[in-house]
Amino acid sequence: SNDSGNDNGANTDSETEKDGLKIVIISSPSGVDDRSFNQNNYEGILSFIEEHPNATVKDIKEPTGDPAAGVQAVADVVADYDVIVTPGFQFAGISQLAVENPDKQFILIDSHPAEVDGQTEFENVYAMTFAEEESGFLVGMAAALETKTNKVAVVNGIAYPSNVNYQFGFESGVNYVNKVYGKNVEIVELAGYAGTDVTGADVGGNYAGDFADEPTGKVIGNALIEQGVDTIFIAAGGTGNGVITAVKESDKDVKIIGGDVDQWEDGVNGSENVILTSALKVMDLNVERSLNAIVDGTFEGANVLLKADTDSTGYVKEEGRHQLSEDTISKIDEAYDLMQSGEVEPASNFNGHTPESFPGL
Amino acid sequence: MSDYIVEMKHITKRFPGIVANDDVSIGIKKGEIFALLGENGAGKSTLMSILSGMYEPDEGEVYIRGEKVQISSPNHAAKLNIGMVHQHFKLVPDYTITENIILGIEPMKRFAGIFPYVDIQSANRKIEELSKSFGLEVDPKKRITDLTVSMQQRVEILKVLYREAEILIFDEPTAVLTPQEIEFLLDIIEGLRQGGKTIILITHKLDEIKKVADRCAVLNKGKLIDVLDVKETSTNYMAQLMVGREVSFESAKTPAQMKDEVLKVENLTVKNEDGFEVVKDVSFSIRGGEIFAIAGVADNGQVEIADAIAGLTKVSSGKILLNEQDITDERIRKRTEAGISYIPEDRQSVGLILDFDVATNLALKQYYKEPFSRNGILNKEEFDQFGNRLIEKYDIRSGQGIQTQVRSMSGGNQQKAIIAREIELQSPLMIFVQPTRGVDIGAIENIHKMMIQERDKGKAILLVSLELDEIMDVADTIGVIYNGRLQKVASSESLTKNEVGEYMMGAKHG
């Protein structure tokens, strides 16, 4: 799947039409077919190409996952493309290359560019981050509304801001349901897996301490199930797969809420599916938007935090890819509107609110 | 023609840098004992390895019972009823005797009628019977690691007999045995022949050939010199043919000129790994200009005494003094420097580094000293010069001079290299453990000469040997060991061979 569209090698067609952008996506070791984060970005590019058939994309995998190696990989190929799409925090360092290559456009996802000579915004870098707490909030509501045992939990990787945002958002959502709809849903936290965020503060939650440790994910999953939890939100990268396995193996009726992208496929369990819904970062749409901006000439470098107001956060309610009740969906959508308008503002790692007290609660 | 059961015609076999067999033709009659004689590296083992399917010849043909065959594997040889008792035993150390013997032709039984398993029980029984019927009693359940060398050899012989071999090849079977054991083995061989088997015997010992063999082929540097009728040939002539010159059997030994005491061993006790006392309260001393020989049946503690003196084994009690200096707890290197040369029993795994070249091996005891190295830096030219000098002086034969990998040298030449290295150390005390084992008579003569020469230079020499003849020939003083204790220490003139033999068997106490 290295080539896509009508590409025959990026260096062959020297005369590109105006919209014949040469795009490259450089991904972390999991690659653009990870059915998750990277793939979602890649799909954004693909759907752009569908509209602009002269554009081409090449995908390149950086095999170590090290930020320096990521930047080196970009440096190796930057000369040959017009647009460089880099999903992931590993690529924050491309700002240096952006300065050195002012004729190239960079789209950086889920990270802000690293500082270069005191500068943090760059005219040829469009860096997008997402308000994870919003998506977390929505699925927190979903969990609280759908739970039968009245016990829910969130499993994370490491307490980096993006993860804490998800966690706080989720907890905000649960609390919101408890308050607004009078439920009494408990958020289960396993002692021994509390997270310590980047400032050193204890944020609680269930942190596996790793984004790629499936066995630990499974241990946590099993422990939660044993405590009677029946809805688990996973925002833990590969570690989440372990939780899914634990749920599938369990003979209890437990559901998973996916993170980042629609994880419906991962939930297939025989004739059933364990995915309740998924919290979304709408990256594909935003990548496509920026590519379009490049074609339109409206592209501008910026560091933006994307929120519900641009439909950049959300949850899966597409027919056949979730198991939420009508009622739940309508309740969530109500809250979604409030969030879009800013009336509800769930807690995030650093926005000063807590899951127990945030605007709109 | 057809009275030959084995015929090898125009056999040539080359190894890199050497023609091991050069157009050799021999024929062996059914029911005879046929001996192969030749210096180290003459090509005896190679020729027999061809017959037993280990090697394929580069040229030449082999006929068995008149039929031309190409013996492609030991298995094939076994089918032709040829079996070889290798000098270097091919045994699995951790297996029992039975397991070793049945390996490859295991008798099977079924468990619950389904699962086949190796039927050790019945094999044990069968081997016990077999061993009795040939007078080779063994305990089939013993592990090889617990056996003496001569017992291991019995296992090798039993292996061949178990496979119903008709043609038995023995490669230097007596090299590792005591005189009594040799007697015994020769009787067995004679018995086998009477039982209708054909025997090929490789040995360096002319008296053995004289005693049992009918005919004898002499090889020299890969070529067949002659095939002799043993009855009608003198041992002297055989030796001459083999070495290509006159050999003197009398050691030209002058009386010893003994000087000051060099080595003193007091109440030495040594335990083996299992905590068993193998040397018990042994005391003796050796003076400069004296050859002190320890006589004894294998595994009576003599090697451990030598090892303890050289520092290879720990002493559990007692004292060792070298030139009045207490070395009981010194490290090996210190002892070497204090003046000990040591020719170990196991030349391949202790005496040499087989993957290194000759020059490097010859410098193994001196590399860290001037002129071989200075301030920790080696001087390669010195290594080469030294190597070349020793090769010359001690007639060490190797394919590519000092650069030859020691692994590819014949056993006799490996031994020469060790002896050369140790003599060159000029130590006041020299320990020789089985120095002539597996070495041809020409070389034996040389080694004995060298020992006496060193003695005459005033060295103290400790000789550990299983060969009674050797001990009687060269020793000035003989200590006889039995069961870890020195039974008797006396000057060699005052003892007869028979007496020594009796002490060795524990039949007589001093």
């Binding site: 059915r35 241990v219 372990g242 | 699995v92 390996l103």
Partner: protein, 320 residues
């Protein structure tokens, strides 16, 4: 808590054990085998691929193909081990280099092929083959025994299969004539050769068995950890198996003990972390438990350890 330790510990220890047995076969025959990691990964790859392919073509749900996947993983591991066998035996390659290279190749090939096949055959970009989770069952009357009862609770079917195969492997290695020759080949190949047995054949079979068993172990890991195949199967468990078999002195039963120690120390580490109620960052410290424990135990138990005498030596008839 204790139950979880036992249940998780066993489901980790047994696949490790079967891979280690594979290693024992190979090394007992004299062939150093660092390639276990690659074998288990490639085996799991073939097993998972077969299951998804069969599911795709026949319409049977992939969750029903558990045993099919196990079977094919053995075939796959064995196929891949041919490389090691040919290199080490026929081409007299350095056994260490061969093992290392096979691991590199296995990771590269399976990652590449998984992506390629997903696109070409299933028309869907993915870096893994999704399997159904394995059933787990409980042997009721045994499960009620205090403490040990946990060993009969929530068992994966593969645990039973591994126990059965391990018994057979034990029998084959120590009681059959093949096993006798195999062990002899690793101690003194010349003796085997002189006995008219083809050393190469014995060693070849031994390596293939190691591939077969490792493949099975890999598939079990794939099922017990995430019920899919992806490159995350290469977690170093093959090397852990090597450590276990050396710890076990190249003998099957002591190796089982070593694997159980690993398994229980691993699940025990997680349990302790939970009991201690320290923040998640401290789990890293508890994760070291199996490894540190092993080292400590080795200090007491490895005095008499001894590798097969001819291990790693290229067999050459002429050489002694």
């Amino acid at each position: 808590m204790m139950d979880t330790v036992i249940i998780d510990g066993l489901s980790f220890a047994l696949p490790l054990f079967i891979i280690a047995i594979g290693g024992i076969y190979s090394e007992k025959s004299g062939i150093t085998n660092l390639a276990l990691e690659g074998f288990q990964g490639f085996g799991a790859f073939v097993g998972a691929l077969s299951a998804v392919l069969i599911a795709h073509t026949s319409g049977i749900g992939v969750e029903h193909l558990f045993y099919v996947a196990l079977l094919f993983s053995m075939i796959g591991g064995m196929m891949f081990s041919i490389i090691h066998a040919v290199l080490c035996i026929k081409f007299k390659a350095d056994q260490v280099i061969s093992g290392v290279v096979i691991n590199i190749l296995a990771l590269a090939l399976t990652t590449f092929l998984t992506a390629q096949i997903n696109v070409l055959v299933f028309g869907q970009a993915s870096d893994r083959f999704q399997l159904g989770v394995s059933d787990r069952f409980t042997i009721e009357f045994l499960a009620n025994i205090p403490v040990i009862g946990a060993a009969f609770t929530n068992i994966y079917p593969f645990e039973i299969i591994i126990v059965i195969i391990a018994c057979f492997a034990w029998y084959l290695l120590y009681k059959s004539k093949f096993g006798m020759r195999l062990r002899a080949a690793g101690e003194n190949p010349h003796s085997v050769d002189a006995a008219g047995v083809d050393v190469s054949k014995v060693r070849f079979s031994a390596v293939l068995i190691s591939g077969l068993l490792s493949g099975l172990g890999g598939m079990c890991f794939a099922y017990s950890i995430s019920a899919n195949f992806s490159s995350s199967i290469y977690m170093g468990y093959g090397f852990l198996a090597i450590a276990a078999l050396i710890f076990g002195n190249w003998k099957i039963l002591p190796t089982l003990v070593a694997c159980l120690i690993f398994g229980f120390a691993k699940s025990g580490g997680s349990a302790i972390a939970m009991v201690m109620e320290l923040p998640s960052s401290f789990t890293d410290l508890f994760m070291t438990l199996p490894y540190v424990l092993t080292l400590l135990l080795l200090i007491f138990f490895s005095k008499s350890n001894r590798a097969p005498r001819a291990l790693g030596e290229i067999y050459d008839k002429g050489k002694r």
